[in-house]
């Protein structure tokens, strides 16, 4: 740690721990208490509870109108820039498109190093050559790559410390996820649900890169849940795990959501519930053993991945203190589960035109509407395949008690057609198109998570691809698909400030502090932008 870093850290927020000054830059203990050092951003969702909430309060509703650009960084690659940067003691670490990564001086945006792992030909990533960010432990950063590798990089240089192949990209196994550090391990989940992969969640020892455990999200012969796949359909069953999970250190459980069964729009060959697609998995952090599971959308035909961030909250539920898990799901329902055992507590719709299910029954299973299955000529179903929300992060503010969710109001016409499986090729069982004559739109919505009551919404002209950040200053930051980055009053949703960034926002904001100044960071197009008060 150099002198500049120490000075910066001292200046920021006044929250210094001994760990900062030690040799290891990021200890597990620091990540456990990440919320207590808001000048930094140590893990993808801000902390293990995945609130994407910061105790920084310099920017507030009365001054947010004065926000201005501090610096911009060009990743040199257009497309979807999905990273959530980490900030550790004055240095910002991010990943970019096409296996890129970088470290920046967080005060100036000047690059300290750049890294790119060259992409082999024919990498199949359904939805962009994207990456959502690093995890950090000790003096290393961890990145999962599009070509199926997991890497450890040196924080100061970007040098590769270790490099392991998790799976074969030629079979369309790719990584887009930001890893999660738990104790001495790096947790990643694979993508490839459009190509008939067999999904998995892996843990690697941070020190060596040796694999500690793997959990297959599609059970093999002899394993519980295997009977929920007809014939050999499990072999190409999908259920990818491409969004970062949450962690409860007391229960020692990792909560990791999974995506759609393959092929997504055609279920004829995969009769059964198709476990553990579209589920929340609670895995023992040390062994990867399944403690419990909850499947949101059994035998899905509409690409309703459940790859949305699980938000952990300890709060009274019907008068009893409970360890809760909140999940605004792509299928249009906001779920509350007991995270000790997966007990279903409630599910309320947060999408106005929902028509695939009447409700979620008392057993937690959807009461599916007849006639909502895809057909050759198409069935109009709401939400559309983009979902009522998607992978971008929700935010929970303990100050307002509200859960902020970016929602899409879109219906699609889902068609299906038989499709043969070819290794490494599209395997979707046909296609969905926007419902004719219906203008799709979106909104950032604030919910009471216990009642599902909508407190306010801020309308977007088009469905969003960006999530939200809430802060102790009483401000919610969010980005829309029309390129607007907005600051809203966390209590009312009032627009306090906005700026046009020139390209759709495909990420969720983060914040940090340096020299007594609070920064808010968002990527758009090829650039990462940092805003602060003058």
């Amino acid at each position: 740690m150099n002198a500049v870093t120490i000075r910066v850290t001292l200046a920021a927020a006044g929250l210094i721990t001994c760990a900062v000054l030690g040799r290891s830059q990021v200890t597990y203990d620091r990540i456990l208490k990440a919320a207590e050092e808001p000048q930094n951003w140590l893990t993808y969702s801000g902390d293990y509870k995945s609130w994407r909430y910061s105790k920084l309060e310099q920017i507030n509703p009365s001054n947010a109108g004065n926000l201005g650009l501090q610096w911009a960084f060009q990743s040199a690659d257009l497309g979807q820039f999905e990273t959530t940067a980490l900030v550790i003691d004055g240095v910002l670490y991010g990943t970019g498109q096409d296996n890129r990564a970088f470290a920046l001086d967080a005060r100036t945006g000047r690059a300290i190093w750049r890294y790119q792992r060259r992409l082999p030909d024919k990498v199949q990533a359904c939805c962009g050559m994207v990456n959502r960010g690093f995890a950090a432990l000790g003096e290393h950063l961890f990145m999962a790559t599009l070509d199926g590798h997991v890497l450890a990089l040196d924080m100061k240089t970007g040098n590769v410390i270790w490099d392991v192949e998790a799976a074969d990209y030629r079979q369309a196994y790719v990584f887009t996820v930001a890893p999660l550090v738990v104790k001495d391990k790096i947790i990643v989940g694979v993508a490839g649900g459009e190509y008939g992969v067999r999904g998995f969640i892996d843990a690697y020892y941070a020190e060596s890169g040796k694999r500690a455990w793997r959990f297959y999200t599609v059970p093999g012969p002899g394993d519980p849940g295997h009977e929920t796949w007809a014939g050999d359909s499990w072999k190409t069953g999908g259920a990818p795990a491409w969004i970062t999970g949450s962690y409860d250190p007391e229960l020692n459980l990792i909560y990791w959501p999974t995506g759609n069964p393959s092929p997504s729009n055609n279920g004829l060959e995969r009769g059964g519930d198709n476990l553990y697609s579209n589920s929340m998995l609670a895995l023992d952090a040390d062994t990867g053993k399944l403690k419990w599971h909850f499947q949101f959308t059994p035998h899905d035909l509409h690409d309703y991945d459940s790859t949305q961030i699980p938000v952990l909250l300890d709060a009274p539920w019907q008068g009893q203190p409970r360890k809760l898990l909140l999940h605004a799901n792509r299928n249009g329902f906001l779920y509350v589960l007991d995270r000790t055992n997966g007990t279903f507590l409630s599910a309320k719709p947060f999408f106005s035109r929902l028509n695939w299910a009447k409700e979620i029954g008392p057993d937690g299973r959807p009461v599916v509407m007849p006639g909502s299955d895809p057909t050759l000529e198409g069935t109009r179903t709401c939400p559309g395949a983009l979902g009522a929300t998607n992978w971008f992060s929700p935010s929970y503010s303990p100050q307002t008690g509200l859960l902020y969710v970016a929602a899409a109001e879109e219906c699609d016409v889902f068609t299906n057609a038989p499709q043969k499986y070819h290794e490494g090729h599209d395997f979707m069982g046909s296609v969905y198109v926007p419902a004719s004559g219906e203008k799709a739109w979106g909104a950032l919505r604030a919910f009471d998570p216990f009642t599902g009551e909508k407190k306010w919404e801020f309308k977007y002209f088009t469905p969003p691809n960006g999530g939200s950040l809430s802060t102790a200053g009483g401000v919610v930051f969010a980005g829309d698909s029309d390129g607007n980055f907005v600051a809203l009053d966390a209590r009312s949703g009032k627009d306090l400030w906005h700026i046009q960034l020139g390209a759709a926002i495909y990420s969720s904001p983060m914040t940090y502090a340096l020299d007594g100044k609070q920064y808010v960071v968002i990527p758009a197009g090829a650039a990462l932008f940092a805003f602060a008060l003058p």
Binding site: G79, G193, W242, D303, P434
Partner: protein, 279 residues
């Protein structure tokens, strides 16, 4: 998985295209025939591939979409032979929105087998007087008040310079007689890889003073509206200065019913429009 099909398509477009030796060879040998013509399982596979990869622009059943032409007309603008269509699919068409596509050869042959199965065969010309149709277009029909052909005409409606290569006679007839009927939705393209998609539904901006400006939106978001008015002037509004923005699923184009445009005049106009291939 994550995002919409149109985004998937753009990724495909954006990925590195390997022009294989076979493809290059095909460019030199126009006699190569599709080995899968008429094969039912190839047609089925081609249909599925088409839906997953081509339909966002060309429509679900190849009947044309907001961005790509109708492929059932029998009019193969970039060459009608199997080899030429193969090249169009694999290499794209420079100067148009048709990208190169990194399919395997067998997949392209399956796609061509499917397209042949839905195509009308040889194109028959429309029985009308092309010169009369052109006079009508620029004269009493007043089409050119809003539509442009090769730089000549108005700006409010779509440029029709290539419309004869892109749309079937049935589609053109419907668009003239009943323009509200198939007001194509602009495909989702949040990153504007191809520029802002054209949409022609009617948008009315109501100012705080109550003034109504009617036109087509060139772009819009939560905070602003770029509206080309019926007078073909650009209006650049901030939404905070507007009382309301009204979207209607109707075209600003009047319906050219028989009382306005006789069947013979329609045939003449169609003869002109189908001749427009951007050549």
């Amino acid at each position: 998985m994550a995002t919409s099909l149109s985004i998937r398509l753009m990724i495909r477009i954006g990925s590195v295209c390997i022009v294989t030796w076979t493809t290059l060879a095909l460019g030199q040998d126009k006699e190569i025939k599709n080995p899968l013509t008429g094969d039912p399982s190839a047609i089925q596979e081609g249909s599925s591939l088409f839906r997953a990869n081509c339909s966002p622009c060309h429509g679900l059943n190849a009947g044309g979409g907001g961005r790509g032409p109708d492929l059932r007309t029998g009019l193969w603008v970039h060459g009608p032979s199997d080899a030429a269509i193969f090249r169009t699919i694999s290499e794209g068409v420079p100067g148009t929105e048709m990208p190169a596509n990194p399919f395997e050869d067998s997949e392209i042959w399956a796609l061509i087998a499917y397209l042949r199965s839905v195509s009308a065969g040889t194109k028959t010309p429309v029985a009308g007087d092309l010169a009369q149709g052109e006079r009508l277009f620029f004269g009493q029909g007043a089409c050119a008040q809003c539509h442009m052909v090769k730089g000549r005409g108005g700006r409010l409606g779509p440029d029709l310079t290539r419309v004869g290569a892109a749309r079937s006679v049935a589609y053109l007839t419907e668009s003239i007689r009943d323009p509200d009927k198939d007001l194509s939705l602009a495909p989702l393209d949040p990153n504007n890889h191809y520029g802002i998609p054209a949409a022609y539904d009617t948008v009315t901006a109501v100012t705080l003073a109550g003034e109504r400006v009617i036109g087509v939106a060139k772009n819009e978001d939560a905070f602003s509206l770029q509206l080309l008015g019926q007078d073909q002037k650009l209006n650049l509004f901030l939404k905070k200065d507007l009382r309301e923005v009204i979207h209607e699923r109707r075209s600003l184009m009047p319906a050219y019913t028989e009382s306005r445009l006789s069947n013979q005049e329609l045939q003449n106009l169609l003869a002109y429009l189908t001749s427009l291939r951007g050549e």
